[in-house]
Symmetry: D2
Subunit: 92 residues, 4 copies
């Protein structure tokens, strides 16, 4: 099933700056067959839902391996049946 | 990997009341080996992350089959390495 | 305007445990004329929207005064015109 | 207090397309002294917190006046004391 999702990862306990963790997240997402758009409050992703879940699992594994003790992940997942869900279709 | 997640499903285009859709979501979640707590703004779930993703995929398939055209799903996913993530550990 | 809101405060850079900060948030909310329900992923609040915003502003001021450098706040705000918005009306 | 916020308004019961409502939201935000960036999952805003709350209250009033019966609003609010919060500072 095709889906769109906004991913915003929040590492807790790593200090005030989380930029390096976010870069790691985007790098992992780029390893998948997704359309990706980063913005100030997260990363918008378009792709197959099962692949999106694989990517999210990899993000949690990878950031924990890099030392993040606690990882919150705010997701806005969307699917629709009237047309193929896309980031382009969600822009004004 | 063990995880906790808050799931809030928002069906768009089904009318103002979404109670029946939410009941369907909770019924699907109860078919999995999860700890579940419903509240006014979503359902908190504790379980294995891969099972959580299976449940979410089933929720989208099932609600679309029941006629929901557009389905938003707001997720707060959390993992941690210092202890097993649990709903009990997140309460005051 | 009457509203319901879920508030989940995430202090960044305070260490892995945020329990004391959450207790401070709930204590501030209790100083207002709200109906309050805490759960594992946030606090559900029912009250007048302008009072809710006063409380949120006080939460940010108060946690910053207590030493939180960076404060994320995830809010699910809801209003409706067909009936008075309430936490009771949002439960299954 | 300066703040950043992501605003994603979800009108319930208006049909599958919510584009006109989102345009109304952005039009209201443009009437304030904010920096605004729209994207596929919401609108990122930088401005004074009290003004942000005024804008949100106006959004709810305005969309209800235009016929929206039920309005969900997903907000990611952020403040920080080590530097002025900005959208620019949150980009990769």
């Amino acid at each position: 099933m095709q889906a769109t999702v906004e991913i915003q990862v929040v590492p807790i306990g790593n200090g005030v700056s989380v930029r390096e963790d976010i870069k790691q997240v985007v790098s992992i997402l780029k390893g998948f067959d997704f359309l990706i758009e980063t913005h100030a409050s997260g990363t918008n992703v378009e792709g197959e839902m099962s692949e999106i879940f694989k990517a999210i699992e990899k993000i949690h594994e990878s950031l924990h391996e890099s030392g993040t003790v606690r990882l919150l992940n705010y997701l806005k997942l969307e699917t629709r049946t009237d047309k193929t869900p896309s980031l382009a279709g969600k822009r004004l």
